[in-house]
Amino acid sequence: MKEIKILSPCGLLGYGYPETSFRRGLEQCPDVIAVDAGSTDSGPYKLGAGMAIVSRQATRKDLLPILAGGHQRNIPVIIGSAGGAGARTHVDWSMEVIEEIVREERLSLEAAVIYADVDRGYLHQKLDENRIEPLGPVPELTHAAIDAALRIVGQMGCEPIIGALDQGAQLVVAGRAYDPAPFAALPIHRGFDPALALHLGKILECGALCATPGTTKDAILGYLRDDHFIVEALDDGRKCHPTSVAAHTLYEKDHPYLLQGPGFELDLSECAFEAHGENGVRVSGSRASATERYAVKLEGASQVAFRTIFIAGVRDPILIENIDEITRGVTDQIREDYRELPDSGYQILFHLYGKNAVMGRLEPLGEPGHEIGVVLEVVASTQELASAICARARSTMLHYPYPGRKSTAGNLAFLYSPSDIPCGPVYKFNVYHLVEVGDPCELFRTEYRKVR
Protein backbone atom coordinates (compact mmCIF):
# COMPACT_ATOMS: atom_id res chain seq x y z
CA MET A 1 0.00 0.00 0.00
CA LYS A 2 1.27 3.43 -0.97
CA GLU A 3 1.26 5.84 1.97
CA ILE A 4 2.58 9.28 2.82
CA LYS A 5 2.51 10.82 6.30
CA ILE A 6 2.15 14.53 6.90
CA LEU A 7 2.76 16.09 10.30
CA SER A 8 1.11 19.42 11.12
CA PRO A 9 2.51 20.82 14.39
CA CYS A 10 -0.08 23.57 14.90
CA GLY A 11 -2.72 25.63 13.16
CA LEU A 12 -0.59 28.74 12.87
CA LEU A 13 3.16 28.95 13.31
CA GLY A 14 3.69 30.79 16.59
CA TYR A 15 0.39 29.76 18.21
CA GLY A 16 2.31 27.01 20.07
CA TYR A 17 1.88 23.24 20.45
CA PRO A 18 2.63 20.63 23.14
CA GLU A 19 6.04 19.08 22.66
CA THR A 20 4.62 15.62 23.52
CA SER A 21 2.18 15.60 20.58
CA PHE A 22 4.86 16.80 18.19
CA ARG A 23 7.31 14.11 19.41
CA ARG A 24 4.64 11.46 19.02
CA GLY A 25 4.09 12.68 15.46
CA LEU A 26 7.83 12.56 14.73
CA GLU A 27 8.01 8.99 16.01
CA GLN A 28 5.62 7.99 13.22
CA CYS A 29 8.38 9.02 10.77
CA PRO A 30 6.40 11.56 8.74
CA ASP A 31 7.42 12.22 5.14
CA VAL A 32 7.00 15.95 5.59
CA ILE A 33 6.39 18.52 8.32
CA ALA A 34 4.21 21.33 7.03
CA VAL A 35 2.85 24.40 8.77
CA ASP A 36 0.75 27.38 7.80
CA ALA A 37 2.01 30.69 9.15
CA GLY A 38 -0.55 33.05 7.68
CA SER A 39 -4.12 34.19 7.55
CA THR A 40 -6.19 37.10 6.31
CA ASP A 41 -8.47 36.65 9.32
CA SER A 42 -6.91 39.31 11.50
CA GLY A 43 -7.56 41.92 8.84
CA PRO A 44 -5.46 43.93 6.41
CA TYR A 45 -2.95 45.53 8.81
CA LYS A 46 -0.34 42.74 8.57
CA LEU A 47 -0.06 43.13 4.83
CA GLY A 48 -0.36 46.92 4.96
CA ALA A 49 2.04 47.56 7.82
CA GLY A 50 4.34 44.61 7.13
CA MET A 51 3.69 43.28 10.61
CA ALA A 52 3.43 39.70 11.90
CA ILE A 53 0.44 38.03 13.64
CA VAL A 54 2.61 36.44 16.31
CA SER A 55 5.74 37.58 18.12
CA ARG A 56 9.24 36.76 16.98
CA GLN A 57 9.74 34.91 20.25
CA ALA A 58 6.67 32.70 19.63
CA THR A 59 7.78 31.96 16.08
CA ARG A 60 11.21 30.98 17.32
CA LYS A 61 9.80 28.75 20.05
CA ASP A 62 7.63 26.86 17.53
CA LEU A 63 10.27 26.65 14.82
CA LEU A 64 13.06 25.25 16.94
CA PRO A 65 11.69 21.69 17.43
CA ILE A 66 10.40 21.65 13.83
CA LEU A 67 13.76 22.58 12.30
CA ALA A 68 15.78 20.41 14.69
CA GLY A 69 13.43 17.40 14.33
CA GLY A 70 13.28 17.72 10.56
CA HIS A 71 17.06 18.04 10.29
CA GLN A 72 17.76 15.12 12.59
CA ARG A 73 15.40 12.76 10.77
CA ASN A 74 15.95 14.17 7.30
CA ILE A 75 12.30 15.19 6.89
CA PRO A 76 11.54 18.15 4.60
CA VAL A 77 9.93 21.15 6.32
CA ILE A 78 7.51 23.41 4.44
CA ILE A 79 6.24 26.74 5.79
CA GLY A 80 3.40 28.50 3.99
CA SER A 81 2.48 32.23 4.12
CA ALA A 82 5.61 32.92 6.13
CA GLY A 83 5.49 35.78 8.60
CA GLY A 84 1.69 36.17 8.51
CA ALA A 85 0.85 37.92 5.26
CA GLY A 86 3.57 36.31 3.13
CA ALA A 87 5.07 39.47 1.58
CA ARG A 88 8.85 39.93 1.18
CA THR A 89 9.20 41.69 4.53
CA HIS A 90 7.38 38.81 6.26
CA VAL A 91 9.42 36.14 4.51
CA ASP A 92 12.71 37.90 5.32
CA TRP A 93 11.63 38.28 8.96
CA SER A 94 10.93 34.52 9.09
CA MET A 95 14.30 33.77 7.48
CA GLU A 96 16.07 35.86 10.14
CA VAL A 97 14.49 33.72 12.86
CA ILE A 98 15.35 30.52 10.95
CA GLU A 99 18.97 31.60 10.39
CA GLU A 100 19.31 32.37 14.08
CA ILE A 101 18.09 28.88 15.06
CA VAL A 102 20.21 27.16 12.41
CA ARG A 103 23.33 28.99 13.68
CA GLU A 104 22.69 28.26 17.32
CA GLU A 105 21.79 24.62 16.77
CA ARG A 106 24.64 24.14 14.28
CA LEU A 107 22.30 22.79 11.58
CA SER A 108 22.86 22.91 7.85
CA LEU A 109 19.95 23.12 5.43
CA GLU A 110 19.31 23.47 1.73
CA ALA A 111 16.58 26.09 1.78
CA ALA A 112 14.27 27.42 -0.90
CA VAL A 113 12.73 30.83 -0.28
CA ILE A 114 9.72 31.60 -2.47
CA TYR A 115 8.68 35.24 -2.70
CA ALA A 116 5.05 35.98 -3.52
CA ASP A 117 5.20 39.76 -4.05
CA VAL A 118 3.63 40.80 -7.32
CA ASP A 119 5.21 43.35 -9.60
CA ARG A 120 2.98 46.40 -10.20
CA GLY A 121 3.99 46.69 -13.87
CA TYR A 122 2.90 43.09 -14.43
CA LEU A 123 -0.50 43.84 -12.84
CA HIS A 124 -1.03 47.03 -14.85
CA GLN A 125 -0.44 44.99 -17.98
CA LYS A 126 -2.74 42.17 -16.87
CA LEU A 127 -5.42 44.75 -16.09
CA ASP A 128 -5.11 46.21 -19.58
CA GLU A 129 -5.45 42.70 -20.99
CA ASN A 130 -8.66 42.16 -18.96
CA ARG A 131 -7.15 39.22 -17.12
CA ILE A 132 -8.04 40.42 -13.61
CA GLU A 133 -11.46 39.98 -12.02
CA PRO A 134 -12.91 40.68 -8.56
CA LEU A 135 -13.02 37.80 -6.08
CA GLY A 136 -16.41 38.09 -4.42
CA PRO A 137 -18.13 41.37 -3.55
CA VAL A 138 -15.32 43.82 -4.36
CA PRO A 139 -15.11 46.55 -7.00
CA GLU A 140 -13.30 46.05 -10.30
CA LEU A 141 -9.57 46.61 -9.98
CA THR A 142 -8.21 49.97 -11.18
CA HIS A 143 -4.71 51.18 -12.03
CA ALA A 144 -5.05 53.65 -9.14
CA ALA A 145 -5.77 50.80 -6.68
CA ILE A 146 -2.69 48.91 -7.87
CA ASP A 147 -0.59 52.03 -7.22
CA ALA A 148 -2.26 52.76 -3.86
CA ALA A 149 -1.58 49.30 -2.43
CA LEU A 150 1.41 49.26 -0.09
CA ARG A 151 2.05 45.59 -0.84
CA ILE A 152 0.44 43.10 -3.20
CA VAL A 153 0.97 39.36 -2.92
CA GLY A 154 -0.21 36.42 -4.98
CA GLN A 155 -1.45 33.25 -3.30
CA MET A 156 0.67 30.41 -4.70
CA GLY A 157 -0.64 26.93 -5.35
CA CYS A 158 1.41 23.74 -4.94
CA GLU A 159 3.46 24.24 -8.13
CA PRO A 160 6.20 26.62 -6.87
CA ILE A 161 6.64 24.46 -3.75
CA ILE A 162 6.89 21.31 -5.87
CA GLY A 163 9.51 23.11 -7.98
CA ALA A 164 11.56 23.80 -4.86
CA LEU A 165 11.25 20.19 -3.62
CA ASP A 166 12.33 19.03 -7.06
CA GLN A 167 15.54 21.03 -6.61
CA GLY A 168 16.25 19.13 -3.41
CA ALA A 169 15.19 21.78 -0.88
CA GLN A 170 14.94 20.39 2.68
CA LEU A 171 13.33 23.58 3.91
CA VAL A 172 10.81 25.55 1.87
CA VAL A 173 9.85 28.97 3.18
CA ALA A 174 6.98 30.14 1.02
CA GLY A 175 5.48 33.61 0.93
CA ARG A 176 1.69 33.89 0.60
CA ALA A 177 0.40 30.41 -0.22
CA TYR A 178 -2.99 28.73 -0.53
CA ASP A 179 -3.32 27.35 3.01
CA PRO A 180 -3.42 23.62 2.05
CA ALA A 181 -0.55 23.94 -0.50
CA PRO A 182 2.38 23.29 1.90
CA PHE A 183 0.65 20.06 2.98
CA ALA A 184 -0.42 18.88 -0.47
CA ALA A 185 2.73 19.75 -2.44
CA LEU A 186 4.88 16.73 -1.53
CA PRO A 187 2.07 14.17 -1.93
CA ILE A 188 1.13 15.60 -5.34
CA HIS A 189 4.81 15.64 -6.29
CA ARG A 190 4.98 11.93 -5.41
CA GLY A 191 1.96 11.11 -7.53
CA PHE A 192 -0.82 10.90 -4.94
CA ASP A 193 -4.37 11.92 -5.84
CA PRO A 194 -4.45 15.76 -5.79
CA ALA A 195 -8.08 15.85 -4.60
CA LEU A 196 -7.32 13.78 -1.50
CA ALA A 197 -4.03 15.64 -0.92
CA LEU A 198 -5.72 19.06 -1.06
CA HIS A 199 -8.68 17.99 1.08
CA LEU A 200 -6.28 16.53 3.66
CA GLY A 201 -4.24 19.74 3.47
CA LYS A 202 -7.37 21.81 4.10
CA ILE A 203 -7.94 19.81 7.30
CA LEU A 204 -4.32 19.70 8.50
CA GLU A 205 -3.59 23.40 7.98
CA CYS A 206 -5.54 24.30 11.13
CA GLY A 207 -3.66 21.84 13.36
CA ALA A 208 -5.93 19.91 15.72
CA LEU A 209 -8.95 22.18 15.12
CA CYS A 210 -10.68 19.22 13.41
CA ALA A 211 -10.50 17.16 16.61
CA THR A 212 -12.70 17.24 19.71
CA PRO A 213 -11.92 19.33 21.69
CA GLY A 214 -10.59 21.33 18.76
CA THR A 215 -7.61 23.63 18.96
CA THR A 216 -5.14 25.30 16.64
CA LYS A 217 -2.51 24.81 19.35
CA ASP A 218 -1.82 21.11 18.91
CA ALA A 219 -0.30 18.74 16.37
CA ILE A 220 -2.16 16.40 14.06
CA LEU A 221 -1.05 13.66 11.68
CA GLY A 222 -2.42 12.79 8.25
CA TYR A 223 -1.92 9.49 6.42
CA LEU A 224 -2.59 9.78 2.70
CA ARG A 225 -3.13 6.55 0.77
CA ASP A 226 -4.28 5.59 -2.73
CA ASP A 227 -8.00 6.12 -2.34
CA HIS A 228 -8.49 7.65 1.09
CA PHE A 229 -6.79 9.50 3.91
CA ILE A 230 -6.80 9.26 7.67
CA VAL A 231 -6.43 12.08 10.19
CA GLU A 232 -5.36 11.22 13.68
CA ALA A 233 -5.14 13.32 16.82
CA LEU A 234 -1.80 12.99 18.63
CA ASP A 235 -2.84 14.07 22.11
CA ASP A 236 -4.57 11.51 24.34
CA GLY A 237 -7.11 14.10 25.39
CA ARG A 238 -8.34 14.65 21.81
CA LYS A 239 -10.18 12.51 19.31
CA CYS A 240 -11.05 12.99 15.68
CA HIS A 241 -14.72 12.19 15.15
CA PRO A 242 -16.36 11.84 11.73
CA THR A 243 -18.54 14.84 12.67
CA SER A 244 -15.65 17.03 13.81
CA VAL A 245 -13.61 16.30 10.67
CA ALA A 246 -16.61 16.76 8.39
CA ALA A 247 -17.45 20.01 10.19
CA HIS A 248 -13.92 21.23 9.71
CA THR A 249 -14.16 20.60 5.97
CA LEU A 250 -16.57 23.53 5.73
CA TYR A 251 -14.75 25.83 8.15
CA GLU A 252 -14.08 29.38 6.89
CA LYS A 253 -15.27 28.50 3.38
CA ASP A 254 -18.11 30.14 1.51
CA HIS A 255 -19.54 26.81 0.28
CA PRO A 256 -19.71 23.57 2.30
CA TYR A 257 -18.42 21.17 -0.36
CA LEU A 258 -17.24 23.15 -3.39
CA LEU A 259 -13.85 24.67 -2.61
CA GLN A 260 -11.93 26.80 -5.08
CA GLY A 261 -8.16 26.96 -5.08
CA PRO A 262 -5.42 27.95 -7.48
CA GLY A 263 -6.14 26.08 -10.71
CA PHE A 264 -8.75 23.67 -9.38
CA GLU A 265 -12.12 23.19 -7.74
CA LEU A 266 -12.63 20.53 -5.06
CA ASP A 267 -15.97 18.73 -4.88
CA LEU A 268 -16.46 17.07 -1.52
CA SER A 269 -20.19 16.35 -1.87
CA GLU A 270 -19.64 12.59 -2.19
CA CYS A 271 -17.16 12.30 0.68
CA ALA A 272 -17.53 9.64 3.34
CA PHE A 273 -16.24 10.36 6.85
CA GLU A 274 -15.83 7.20 8.93
CA ALA A 275 -14.34 6.45 12.35
CA HIS A 276 -10.95 4.74 12.15
CA GLY A 277 -9.31 3.12 15.15
CA GLU A 278 -9.21 4.85 18.51
CA ASN A 279 -9.00 8.51 17.55
CA GLY A 280 -8.81 8.70 13.77
CA VAL A 281 -11.17 9.42 10.89
CA ARG A 282 -11.01 7.90 7.41
CA VAL A 283 -12.07 10.14 4.53
CA SER A 284 -12.72 9.04 0.96
CA GLY A 285 -14.56 10.31 -2.09
CA SER A 286 -12.90 13.75 -2.47
CA ARG A 287 -12.85 14.86 -6.10
CA ALA A 288 -11.11 17.69 -7.90
CA SER A 289 -11.23 19.15 -11.37
CA ALA A 290 -8.83 21.56 -13.03
CA THR A 291 -10.36 24.94 -13.82
CA GLU A 292 -10.48 26.02 -17.45
CA ARG A 293 -8.08 28.90 -16.76
CA TYR A 294 -5.50 29.01 -13.96
CA ALA A 295 -6.15 32.00 -11.71
CA VAL A 296 -4.07 33.22 -8.77
CA LYS A 297 -5.64 35.16 -5.92
CA LEU A 298 -4.17 38.62 -5.31
CA GLU A 299 -4.21 40.41 -1.97
CA GLY A 300 -3.22 44.03 -1.55
CA ALA A 301 -3.63 46.50 1.30
CA SER A 302 -3.66 50.29 1.30
CA GLN A 303 -3.64 52.84 4.09
CA VAL A 304 -6.94 54.71 4.39
CA ALA A 305 -6.89 56.76 7.61
CA PHE A 306 -5.55 57.16 11.14
CA ARG A 307 -7.39 56.16 14.30
CA THR A 308 -7.55 57.39 17.93
CA ILE A 309 -9.81 55.81 20.56
CA PHE A 310 -10.74 56.03 24.20
CA ILE A 311 -12.20 53.28 26.40
CA ALA A 312 -14.59 54.11 29.25
CA GLY A 313 -17.44 52.61 31.23
CA VAL A 314 -20.93 53.92 31.96
CA ARG A 315 -22.75 52.67 35.08
CA ASP A 316 -25.47 55.18 35.99
CA PRO A 317 -28.94 53.76 35.11
CA ILE A 318 -30.44 57.06 33.92
CA LEU A 319 -27.35 57.72 31.84
CA ILE A 320 -27.69 54.24 30.27
CA GLU A 321 -31.36 54.95 29.47
CA ASN A 322 -30.27 58.09 27.61
CA ILE A 323 -27.16 56.68 25.95
CA ASP A 324 -28.43 56.89 22.36
CA GLU A 325 -29.42 60.56 22.72
CA ILE A 326 -26.08 61.31 24.36
CA THR A 327 -23.97 59.72 21.64
CA ARG A 328 -26.06 61.46 18.97
CA GLY A 329 -25.73 64.76 20.83
CA VAL A 330 -21.96 64.42 21.18
CA THR A 331 -21.60 63.69 17.45
CA ASP A 332 -23.76 66.73 16.56
CA GLN A 333 -21.74 68.92 18.92
CA ILE A 334 -18.45 67.82 17.28
CA ARG A 335 -19.88 68.49 13.81
CA GLU A 336 -20.74 71.97 15.03
CA ASP A 337 -17.34 72.54 16.70
CA TYR A 338 -15.50 71.42 13.56
CA ARG A 339 -17.87 72.99 11.05
CA GLU A 340 -14.90 74.23 9.00
CA LEU A 341 -14.06 70.59 8.19
CA PRO A 342 -16.15 68.65 5.68
CA ASP A 343 -18.14 65.79 7.31
CA SER A 344 -16.29 63.39 5.04
CA GLY A 345 -12.93 64.43 6.56
CA TYR A 346 -13.40 62.31 9.66
CA GLN A 347 -15.72 59.74 11.23
CA ILE A 348 -16.89 59.31 14.83
CA LEU A 349 -17.89 55.77 15.73
CA PHE A 350 -19.39 54.78 19.07
CA HIS A 351 -19.06 51.14 20.09
CA LEU A 352 -21.35 50.43 23.04
CA TYR A 353 -20.35 47.10 24.59
CA GLY A 354 -23.19 45.64 26.61
CA LYS A 355 -25.69 47.16 24.20
CA ASN A 356 -24.97 46.43 20.55
CA ALA A 357 -21.22 46.78 19.86
CA VAL A 358 -20.86 43.27 18.41
CA MET A 359 -23.90 43.13 16.12
CA GLY A 360 -24.60 46.83 15.53
CA ARG A 361 -27.93 47.38 13.80
CA LEU A 362 -28.38 43.60 13.49
CA GLU A 363 -28.61 43.14 17.27
CA PRO A 364 -31.92 41.35 17.93
CA LEU A 365 -32.09 42.25 21.66
CA GLY A 366 -32.71 45.88 22.57
CA GLU A 367 -32.08 46.22 26.30
CA PRO A 368 -28.58 47.11 27.50
CA GLY A 369 -27.07 45.55 30.62
CA HIS A 370 -26.36 47.27 33.94
CA GLU A 371 -23.16 48.78 32.57
CA ILE A 372 -21.96 49.75 29.10
CA GLY A 373 -18.41 49.70 27.82
CA VAL A 374 -17.85 52.66 25.54
CA VAL A 375 -15.16 52.60 22.88
CA LEU A 376 -15.15 55.87 21.04
CA GLU A 377 -13.29 55.72 17.77
CA VAL A 378 -12.31 58.63 15.56
CA VAL A 379 -10.80 58.02 12.13
CA ALA A 380 -9.38 60.93 10.16
CA SER A 381 -6.86 61.74 7.47
CA THR A 382 -4.03 62.42 9.94
CA GLN A 383 -3.18 61.09 13.39
CA GLU A 384 -3.17 64.64 14.74
CA LEU A 385 -6.69 65.33 13.53
CA ALA A 386 -7.99 61.95 14.77
CA SER A 387 -6.51 62.65 18.22
CA ALA A 388 -7.81 66.24 18.32
CA ILE A 389 -11.37 65.18 17.49
CA CYS A 390 -11.22 62.22 19.89
CA ALA A 391 -10.09 64.56 22.70
CA ARG A 392 -12.93 66.96 21.93
CA ALA A 393 -15.49 64.12 21.82
CA ARG A 394 -14.14 62.80 25.13
CA SER A 395 -14.49 66.09 26.98
CA THR A 396 -17.89 66.73 25.37
CA MET A 397 -19.25 63.33 26.38
CA LEU A 398 -17.76 63.52 29.89
CA HIS A 399 -19.95 66.47 30.79
CA TYR A 400 -22.83 66.06 28.34
CA PRO A 401 -26.19 66.92 29.99
CA TYR A 402 -29.24 64.67 29.75
CA PRO A 403 -32.74 64.69 31.28
CA GLY A 404 -33.04 63.58 34.92
CA ARG A 405 -29.27 63.54 35.45
CA LYS A 406 -28.20 62.75 39.01
CA SER A 407 -24.50 61.90 38.43
CA THR A 408 -23.55 65.44 37.61
CA ALA A 409 -19.79 65.13 38.16
CA GLY A 410 -19.00 63.18 35.00
CA ASN A 411 -20.47 60.60 32.58
CA LEU A 412 -17.48 58.37 31.89
CA ALA A 413 -15.33 55.97 33.93
CA PHE A 414 -12.08 56.13 31.94
CA LEU A 415 -10.04 52.94 31.95
CA TYR A 416 -6.66 54.62 31.51
CA SER A 417 -4.72 57.76 32.07
CA PRO A 418 -4.02 59.09 29.51
CA SER A 419 -7.47 58.14 28.28
CA ASP A 420 -6.89 58.65 24.57
CA ILE A 421 -4.99 56.02 22.58
CA PRO A 422 -3.58 56.85 19.14
CA CYS A 423 -3.80 53.59 17.16
CA GLY A 424 -1.84 54.57 14.08
CA PRO A 425 -2.82 53.88 10.48
CA VAL A 426 -5.97 52.05 9.38
CA TYR A 427 -5.64 49.71 6.41
CA LYS A 428 -8.00 48.18 3.92
CA PHE A 429 -7.84 45.21 1.53
CA ASN A 430 -8.02 47.25 -1.66
CA VAL A 431 -6.91 44.40 -3.93
CA TYR A 432 -8.77 41.11 -3.61
CA HIS A 433 -8.90 39.78 -7.13
CA LEU A 434 -8.04 36.86 -9.37
CA VAL A 435 -5.40 37.17 -12.07
CA GLU A 436 -5.28 34.70 -14.92
CA VAL A 437 -1.79 33.34 -15.45
CA GLY A 438 -0.11 31.37 -18.22
CA ASP A 439 2.16 29.49 -15.83
CA PRO A 440 1.25 28.77 -12.16
CA CYS A 441 4.79 29.80 -11.16
CA GLU A 442 5.08 33.04 -13.13
CA LEU A 443 4.27 35.34 -10.18
CA PHE A 444 6.69 33.69 -7.77
CA ARG A 445 10.47 33.99 -7.41
CA THR A 446 12.40 31.16 -5.78
CA GLU A 447 15.85 31.67 -4.28
CA TYR A 448 17.97 28.74 -3.17
CA ARG A 449 20.18 29.26 -0.14
CA LYS A 450 22.44 27.12 1.93
CA VAL A 451 21.57 27.99 5.54
CA ARG A 452 24.10 27.00 8.21
Partner: protein, 109 residues
Protein backbone atom coordinates in the same frame (compact mmCIF):
# COMPACT_ATOMS: atom_id res chain seq x y z
CA UNK B 1 -50.13 19.84 19.07
CA UNK B 2 -47.18 21.13 17.10
CA UNK B 3 -44.12 21.90 19.18
CA UNK B 4 -41.12 24.04 18.36
CA UNK B 5 -37.49 24.18 19.43
CA UNK B 6 -34.82 26.85 19.30
CA UNK B 7 -32.20 26.34 16.60
CA UNK B 8 -29.54 26.96 19.26
CA UNK B 9 -30.82 23.97 21.25
CA UNK B 10 -31.08 21.61 18.29
CA UNK B 11 -27.65 22.40 16.82
CA UNK B 12 -24.34 21.11 18.17
CA UNK B 13 -22.40 23.87 16.44
CA UNK B 14 -23.77 27.31 15.62
CA UNK B 15 -20.97 29.59 14.49
CA UNK B 16 -19.94 32.44 12.24
CA UNK B 17 -16.60 33.25 10.64
CA UNK B 18 -15.08 35.20 7.79
CA UNK B 19 -14.93 33.40 4.46
CA UNK B 20 -12.29 35.83 3.23
CA UNK B 21 -12.41 39.51 4.22
CA UNK B 22 -15.59 40.31 2.29
CA UNK B 23 -17.92 37.43 3.13
CA UNK B 24 -19.38 36.07 6.34
CA UNK B 25 -20.26 32.39 6.65
CA UNK B 26 -22.60 30.83 9.22
CA UNK B 27 -22.49 27.11 9.99
CA UNK B 28 -25.22 25.13 11.70
CA UNK B 29 -24.00 21.58 12.42
CA UNK B 30 -25.80 18.70 14.10
CA UNK B 31 -24.46 15.68 15.98
CA UNK B 32 -27.53 13.57 15.39
CA UNK B 33 -29.25 12.83 12.09
CA UNK B 34 -32.72 13.40 13.57
CA UNK B 35 -32.13 17.02 14.58
CA UNK B 36 -30.45 17.71 11.23
CA UNK B 37 -33.40 16.28 9.32
CA UNK B 38 -35.93 18.17 11.46
CA UNK B 39 -34.24 21.47 10.66
CA UNK B 40 -33.50 20.64 7.03
CA UNK B 41 -37.07 19.42 6.32
CA UNK B 42 -38.66 22.34 8.16
CA UNK B 43 -37.37 24.67 5.44
CA UNK B 44 -37.17 27.46 8.01
CA UNK B 45 -33.53 28.20 7.19
CA UNK B 46 -33.91 29.86 3.84
CA UNK B 47 -32.90 32.93 1.91
CA UNK B 48 -35.85 35.04 3.13
CA UNK B 49 -35.02 34.33 6.77
CA UNK B 50 -31.39 35.26 6.21
CA UNK B 51 -32.38 38.51 4.46
CA UNK B 52 -34.61 39.43 7.37
CA UNK B 53 -32.19 38.54 10.19
CA UNK B 54 -29.09 40.00 8.57
CA UNK B 55 -30.76 42.84 6.66
CA UNK B 56 -29.15 41.89 3.37
CA UNK B 57 -30.67 41.85 -0.10
CA UNK B 58 -31.41 38.44 -1.69
CA UNK B 59 -28.48 38.90 -4.10
CA UNK B 60 -26.18 39.38 -1.08
CA UNK B 61 -27.02 35.89 0.20
CA UNK B 62 -24.52 33.78 -1.71
CA UNK B 63 -25.35 30.34 -0.36
CA UNK B 64 -27.85 28.56 1.83
CA UNK B 65 -26.73 24.94 1.36
CA UNK B 66 -27.20 21.65 3.18
CA UNK B 67 -24.26 19.24 3.32
CA UNK B 68 -25.58 15.83 4.34
CA UNK B 69 -22.18 14.20 4.88
CA UNK B 70 -21.42 16.73 7.62
CA UNK B 71 -25.05 17.16 8.80
CA UNK B 72 -24.50 20.85 8.23
CA UNK B 73 -26.27 23.87 6.86
CA UNK B 74 -24.10 26.70 5.60
CA UNK B 75 -25.17 30.27 4.96
CA UNK B 76 -22.81 32.73 3.29
CA UNK B 77 -23.62 36.44 2.99
CA UNK B 78 -21.93 39.69 2.07
CA UNK B 79 -20.14 41.22 5.03
CA UNK B 80 -21.73 44.57 6.01
CA UNK B 81 -18.18 46.03 6.28
CA UNK B 82 -15.00 44.34 5.08
CA UNK B 83 -12.90 42.69 7.78
CA UNK B 84 -10.82 45.27 9.64
CA UNK B 85 -12.21 48.11 7.55
CA UNK B 86 -13.55 51.33 9.07
CA UNK B 87 -16.78 50.53 10.91
CA UNK B 88 -16.17 46.79 11.22
CA UNK B 89 -17.05 45.46 14.67
CA UNK B 90 -15.91 41.83 14.40
CA UNK B 91 -12.63 41.39 12.53
CA UNK B 92 -12.77 37.57 12.45
CA UNK B 93 -16.56 37.55 12.07
CA UNK B 94 -16.63 35.08 14.94
CA UNK B 95 -19.63 36.40 16.93
CA UNK B 96 -22.19 37.18 14.24
CA UNK B 97 -24.40 34.11 14.76
CA UNK B 98 -26.60 35.68 17.47
CA UNK B 99 -29.59 36.43 15.22
CA UNK B 100 -29.90 32.68 14.46
CA UNK B 101 -30.00 31.62 18.12
CA UNK B 102 -33.71 32.14 18.72
CA UNK B 103 -34.97 30.97 15.34
CA UNK B 104 -37.81 28.55 16.13
CA UNK B 105 -38.03 25.22 14.30
CA UNK B 106 -41.41 23.46 14.30
CA UNK B 107 -41.29 19.81 15.38
CA UNK B 108 -43.98 17.45 14.15
CA UNK B 109 -45.17 14.88 16.65
Amino acid sequence: MARAARLYDLATVLRSKNAGPFELTLDVIFDDEESYQIVKRSGVINRELVCRLYRVRPEEVYHVVCFDAARAIKITIKRPVDSGGIGDTDVYGAQQHAPLIDVMIPIED
